[in-house]
């Protein structure tokens, strides 16, 4: 193998600012109960966080809590607590970690994670969301609002789809008004949507910058720093400024020809969520090979911004509905996702596709063997499929995963050498 590849030591302003912004939001959540601020639980995928902000309901995201517990190696005891209460080993571990947190006394009155005042299930593709929020509403006693978003099953959302979602958004506004005692102001929503659109533009620009060689950041492992601000804090001036700064920082790296690793030897697209309990370990397995993710599907669960969609303050509710219906990964079919990945492979000039298949999330993973078949047999794209989980450390078998990754990149390296030799002749 060539010279050892190392990671860039300095994580940059993006990393620091993301931590600061997310910590501030968590602080607000921790104080919400004492300060009497109404909170609303939401899911990440295709969410309507702007609407809650306009209604003065502080958004909270059980998925973020679950992933934070996983990345801090705290998820397993919580999962076991939930399994003792009757949850199956085959149920989504995100849900079990969340319910386990409650059973363990880490959620609810007097804790840093308050019970939500309202539980807004933005049912955007994932059926487990419906179950999760039924259970969350059950334990917290909060009002459950089921925001049913028709799945993308036609090339564009129909008028009936948009009307149905907009009608529900109006009903959600009425619920929020009853909870906060404040009248909803559509102009305030327009202003929030303008901030959101600015953040979306910045995130999209960042993602397009990874088309450069080398890519200025890893679009899978480093995107987590941007996913918090874009999915949780969207609609705030702070998130918009964060992305303005991120663009400047990444453009600077592009100008310097600097990427996240000392060498960019392979460009990959990664499909599927990361194994949060072993985030760094998993990353290291790719770093060793100089493999940088130039695009990822996980970074689009909340929204696909790189194809140009922006929230439109002139059509506030309609544009929120359209984003929920179509402009995010989870409300599109897995076969639509093949086309999304295909564009990534082609336009971002990737050498390979890596599929990280996780047991917890069948929305992502069920059928990824078919995806591999499509990319390898029909498109001739080198594809690796490895399995573990995003939350449950019991499913992460490092030695097995390492063997597969090493074998894959060895083969890919050989393929590159053969191709280079053939081109030279």
């Amino acid at each position: 193998m060539a010279t050892a590849v190392t990671e860039r030591a300095y994580q940059g302003r993006v990393h620091e600012q993301s931590r600061r912004l997310m910590a501030a939001w968590m602080g607000e959540l921790g104080r919400a109960e004492v300060e009497g601020v109404p909170t609303g639980a939401l899911m990440i995928s295709g969410n309507c966080v702007e609407l809650l902000r306009a209604c003065h309901v502080l958004p909270m995201f059980p998925e973020v809590t679950a992933l934070q517990n996983a990345i801090r190696h705290k998820s397993l005891p919580l999962i076991l607590k939930a399994e003792q209460a009757g949850y199956s080993s085959d149920n989504c571990a995100y849900v079990k970690a969340d319910i386990g947190l409650f059973l363990d006394g880490g959620m609810g009155p007097g804790t840093p994670i308050p019970f939500p005042t309202i539980t807004v299930c933005n049912y955007v593709g994932c059926n487990v969301y419906v179950k999760w929020f039924e259970h969350l509403a059950d334990i917290s006693g909060s009002k459950l609002f089921m925001l049913d978003v028709p799945f993308a099953r036609t090339p564009e959302p129909s008028g009936a789809d948009v009307q149905y979602v907009v009608a529900q958004l109006r009903e959600l506004i009425a619920l929020c008004e009853s909870v906060t005692g404040r009248k909803f102001d559509i102009d305030e929503l327009r202003e929030i949507l303008a901030h959101a659109a600015r953040a979306e533009e910045g995130y999209a620009r960042c993602k397009h910058l990874t088309k450069h060689h080398p890519a200025p950041f890893d679009a899978y492992f480093d995107s987590i720093n941007m996913m918090g601000p874009i999915n949780v804090l969207r609609g705030t001036p702070g998130a918009a400024e964060f992305f303005d700064d991120a663009v400047v920082e990444f453009e600077g790296l592009v100008a310097q020809g600097v990427g996240p690793l000392s060498q960019e030897r392979f460009r990959t697209v990664i499909e599927g969520p990361p194994p949060y309990p072993y985030y760094k370990n998993f990353r290291n397995l790719f770093t060793k090979w100089g493999a940088v993710a130039v695009q990822s599907t996980y970074s689009t669960v909340g929204g696909i911004w790189e194809w140009g969609f922006r929230h439109d303050p002139k059509r506030p509710l309609e544009s929120i509905a359209e984003q929920m219906l179509r402009e995010n990964l989870t409300n599109r079919s897995i076969v639509d996702r093949y086309q999304q990945i295909r564009r990534y492979v082609e336009e971002w000039q990737a050498d390979a596709l890596v599929i990280h298949s996780i047991k917890s999330c069948r929305l992502f993973s069920a059928g990824q063997g078919d995806m591999r078949d499509y990319f390898t047999r029909e498109l001739g794209v080198s594809t690796l499929l490895v399995e573990s989980d995003l939350e449950d450390p019991r499913y992460y078998a490092e030695a097995q995963i390492k063997n597969r990754i090493d074998a894959f990149f060895e083969a890919l390296e050989h393929k590159k050498l053969v191709a280079k030799a053939a081109a030279a002749h």
Partner: protein, 384 residues
């Protein structure tokens, strides 16, 4: 017709591959088309109103070995999804012209699009059935979704789905469902005269034949059952819950009864008896069917009901059927059933209703462990 003859007929029909069932019907109806729906519910009325044969797409059970689908779906995916895909790869649904999937779970949704990709010659339609039961807009949305399906059928097959035909089909299926409700009521009253295995075979055959034909069969069965002999035994009356999608092997149902249970209620093939009573009224039949989906659906793990706690429907079912206990029998890896198990068992415990859990897979072939578990449960109840 004798009850045993009817059950044997149903058993024979159920044993045939779905494609062969479709082919046989099409042979008798030249130019006819058959469309099969994946569990749980799809508007068979619309398929029927187009003059086609509505069928149930229920996987391969024990009849098909997985040679292709295992490479497409991972080990942690339920069996019915894999065997349903395998049916396509092995040409065992070749006589079926179309397939309807809906948003019952994440696996079913992905399966629908993977079906469409792998079998592009087939008509594959995906329905988004509403999960918001209380919105002022939900009934209109549901009607629009049903109209969309009708339009897709018209486009694909050049067949018309007129409002008149749909109204007639609703009436026909109302008649079918009323008879199935009568059979279920009969089993609650006299479980010694109608075993669950028999009822299941009759029900499953209903999902493989034209409704008019099934109605004749059900009338004969309902007429013959009261006079059937049968001595009530000292068994525990149970509700069977969690089998709404993947089909249990017959051996599992037989073992439940042999181990000392009368199954007096269940959620087997729930979509074919989806409404608590008739789809009512006059006027736009799409609107009526859509409104019935929202307001008259039976409790189901695949539908969120905002007006009722998840456990309430099951507790009501137990009380209505005079059951002593609940046996949860979710299919392995079935997330809707496994999630609901927690809230439902908590509800049963609040209501003082005993319960037990046994998981199954469609390919399960040995039942001794299950028999032992159920016998122990029954004994603990009967002799406590």
């Amino acid at each position: 017709m004798a009850i045993d003859t009817i059950v044997t007929e149903c058993r024979d029909l159920v044993a045939r591959p779905l494609g062969a069932v479709a082919d046989a019907w099409k042979l008798a109806h030249p130019g006819g088309r058959a469309v099969a729906s994946y569990p749980v519910w799809a508007p068979a009325e619309i398929i029927h109103a187009a003059g086609m044969l509505p069928l149930a797409l229920l996987g391969g059970g024990t009849s098909v070995e997985l040679t292709h689908a295992d490479a497409r779906f991972q080990s942690f995916v339920c069996s019915i999804a894999k065997s349903t895909l395998e049916l396509g790869f092995q040409g065992l649904v070749a006589g079926v012209d179309g397939f309807v999937f809906s948003n019952i779970c994440d696996v079913a949704r992905n399966l629908g699009s993977i079906y469409k990709r792998n079998f592009p010659e087939a008509f594959v339609e995906y329905l988004h059935l509403p999960q918001n039961s209380t919105s002022s807009a939900v009934a209109a949305y549901t009607a629009s979704e049903l109209r969309r399906l009708a339009a897709a059928i018209e486009d694909q097959f050049g067949l018309a789905v007129t409002e008149t035909a749909l109204a007639k089909s609703i009436e026909t299926y109302n008649g079918l469902r009323a008879r199935l409700r009568a059979l279920y009521a009969f089993r609650i009253a006299e479980p010694e005269k109608l075993s669950t295995t028999e009822l299941y075979l009759v029900l499953r055959a209903a999902a493989l034949a034209p409704p008019e034909e099934t109605i004749v069969r059900l009338d004969a069965l309902l007429a013959a059952l009261p006079a059937r002999g049968g001595r009530r035994q000292d068994r525990m009356r149970v509700v069977l819950e969690g089998l709404f999608c993947e089909q249990p092997p017959l051996g599992l149902l037989e073992v439940l009864e042999e181990a000392g249970c009368y199954v007096v209620e269940d959620d087997l093939l729930l979509g074919w008896r989806w409404f608590v009573d008739d789809v009512p009224g006059d006027g736009d039949p799409f609107a009526r069917l859509g409104a019935a989906y929202v307001d008259r659906a039976v409790p189901s793990s695949t539908r969120h009901e905002g007006r009722q706690h998840r456990a309430d429907g099951l507790v009501e079912k137990v009380r209505r059927a005079g059951a002593d206990a609940v046996i949860f029998a979710p299919a392995k890896f079935c997330e809707p059933a496994l999630f609901d198990y927690v809230l439902m068992k908590q509800g049963l415990e609040r209501a003082g209703i005993p319960h037990m859990l046994v998981e199954f897979e469609e390919k399960m072939w040995t039942f001794e462990r299950t028999r032992n578990e159920i016998e122990t449960f029954v004994e603990s109840m009967l002799f406590e």
